[in-house]
Structure formats: structure tokens, C-alpha cells
Symmetry: C2
Subunit: 204 residues, 2 copies
């Protein structure tokens, strides 16, 4: 059975991506990161999602002590009802590059050929490491980066709207009630951060 | 003063690279990895080197639980007096990709524009993530990967022989006696692993 690594955050996009990979016939190994995020709560959701989807998973602990993101430094406020364009303070420098690098190492070690990521460049916060050119360029790098050949990144939701993502997830039976989006990671979703608002857009 | 991140292992190549970066006028921030390597001993050497070179440094702890390298899994023997060509079992899947990703995040956070790495593609073990095309491709990715612009990787020793590296180091005053190369990380260098033999070639 062909294997794939799935980067699983516990949010709705990566959950749908996991179900897409399963539907495509991959034996999935989820990689979940505890990276000191404010909404560490998502890690528990990710683990539960992996179990429900009958997927293997590993949780990796990493730290980015230099901070520089509202998701890493609690003194910086998470923006609410943001209207400005531009990259918000919730951006974590090089986060996807780090996550994909670990996934690449894992893929090579277990002879998986695909790395699935739930990145989206339609209804998103403008993060540079979610753009189509970023993934295109990363896939070029992957051709030179490892001993194994033929490993590549798949971002099946890259060009979908949130609404389409919800529709795909519903078709595949994704348990959206068991996903977590809110950046604040409180008891209940705040409803006002980018993550909450993009999520709400999908369900409206 | 312009800033640079230096990936410092504690070996001779990264030590020379640190001194090159200093000579070029950079304020250096060394990134040292404790990644579960067999020769963890090098971490202590790296810290000492950073201090002697009057550079700031951070040590990051990461784990690659999937192993698949003689440097991560003590049940796999480190090859001695290796004659075959081909990539040896000391290769760690995607190690440089992971290290550079963290360096990229650090660079963006502190507004550094250069990431120095001591990679060498002349007297080396054939690791794919030490080849010139790998770095060329990674530099292309960097243009798309972050909010900050103009971050790039410098590998000043890429095309040098070990002998040339020793000569450059001597000119710059690198304390080679305070570097550690041996993959086995024992009390004394084994003299037979790739790292010991390449080192010896430089000094002969």
C-alpha cells in the first residue's frame, strides 16, 4: 500500500486533506507539531482526528525561541475582525518550511512518496508559505534534497474556497465538529480571529 | 551591523565558516542542533567555539524518531575505512533541509539576510543535501518562502578541498584543536569513520 505523510494541525483544512489522502488510497502517517503555539489545544484535536481516521500519527515537539508571531508570543495580540490586507502578526516565520522539512525526512525514512498539506491560497491570511509558487519551488527543491527519489508535496486544497473545502469534507465524512481553528485556543472559539472568520465563511 | 545565522556543528568546516562570516563583518548568531546524534559530544564543542569566536548562539533540541541513519540509531554501525562510493548509512534524511528551515525562521525573526553553512561537495560523503544544485534550488525557494525579502544561503566552502579549508582556517585563526569531527563521539576520535578520515586528509 502506498504511503503518505499528512501534516495535521487539527484544523478543518488539514482534516479534509487527511480524508482526501485516505480516499486516494494512501496509508497515512500524520505529523502533528507542538511548536509552542498559543492554541496548543489543536494538538489534542489533531491526535483525535488521526485516530478516528484510523491513521498512524507522531507528535513532534519543536521550539522557535525567537518568536516573532502572535501565535508564539502571548504579549502580541491576535487581531480581531481584521480588515487590512497584508500579512498579519499571526504569521510564524518559515513555519511551513520547517514542517515540510520534517515531513520530508519522515517520508524518506519510511519510503513514502507524498507529503500532504492542507494549505489554501484562496480564503487565507496571505501567508507567503501558502502560495502556489512556494509549493512549486519547494517541489523543485525536493528533487535535489534526498537520497530517495520522487517525493513530492500535494496541496489538494490550494485553489479551493472555504466553501468548497466544507463541501468536499462533508462528502468524505470529515467530522468537522472535532476540528479546532481558533488561534486563541480558549474554551470556546472566539469567533473574531482570522481562523474563526475563515472557518465561518466556509460553513455559511 | 549586518546579521547572519551560522549553522554550527562543532566540526571543522562549520568552525571555518563561522570565522569567514565574522571576517566578512557579520554579527553572527550560531544555531546548534542537538538532534539525537550519536556524537552529541559535538554540541559542547560547538558551544565553546561560538563563545571563543565571540558569537551569540542558540541550541535547539529536535528529534527525528524515524531514525534511518547510523548517526541516529546506535544499532547501525558507523562504517570504517569505507571504500565504496554511494551515500553511506551515516546519511540523515533531510537533515540540512531541516537545519536550514530553522535558520530561515530565525533569520526572518531577527532580520538577518544570510544563512551560512559549512557544506562541502569536494571531500565529502556524497550526501545529497551537500550538493551545489541543492543549495541553488534552496535559494530559489527562499525567494518565495518568507515575508522578509533577500534572505539567502551562503556555503563558502562548497567547492573547497579539505586541504584548502584547513589553510583558510589557519589564516583566520580557527582553533582546530577545539573542533570535533568523529561520528562515534567516543573519548578519542576513532580515526576510521568518514568524518575522521576526511579531517585527516585536510591536515596531511
Amino acid at each position: 500500500m502506498k504511503k503518505a505523510i499528512v501534516l495535521l494541525s487539527g484544523g478543518m483544512d488539514s482534516a479534509v486533506t487527511l480524508y482526501i489522502a485516505r480516499k486516494m488510497g494512501y496509508k497515512t502517517h500524520c505529523l502533528i507539531f507542538d511548536y509552542g503555539q498559543r492554541h496548543k489545544k489543536e494538538v489534542g484535536f489533531a491526535k483525535q482526528l488521526a485516530r478516528i481516521a484510523d491513521s498512524e500519527y507522531s507528535v513532534l515537539n519543536i521550539r522557535l525561541p525567537w518568536g516573532k508571531s502572535a501565535l508564539l508570543d502571548k504579549r502580541t495580540k491576535v487581531p480581531e475582525n481584521r480588515r487590512s490586507s497584508g500579512i498579519p502578526v499571526t504569521y510564524v516565520p518559515a513555519r511551513n518550511t520547517i514542517f515540510i522539512s520534517f515531513a520530508l525526512s519522515f517520508a524518506e525514512a519510511i519510503e513514502a512518496k507524498r507529503i500532504f498539506i492542507g494549505a489554501n491560497a484562496r480564503d487565507f491570511s496571505g501567508y507567503p508559505d501558502c502560495r502556489p509558487l512556494y509549493f512549486k519551488s519547494f517541489n523543485r527543491l525536493l528533487k535535489k534534497a534526498t537520497k530517495a527519489e520522487g517525493i513530492s508535496i500535494e496541496a489538494p486544497l490550494l485553489h479551493k474556497t472555504k466553501r468548497e473545502i466544507v463541501a468536499i469534507g462533508r462528502r468524505l465524512g470529515v467530522p468537522f465538529e472535532l476540528t479546532w481553528s481558533c488561534y486563541k485556543g480558549g474554551k470556546e472559539p472566539c469567533g473574531r480571529c482570522d481562523a474563526c472568520r475563515l472557518r465561518a465563511r466556509g460553513f455559511r
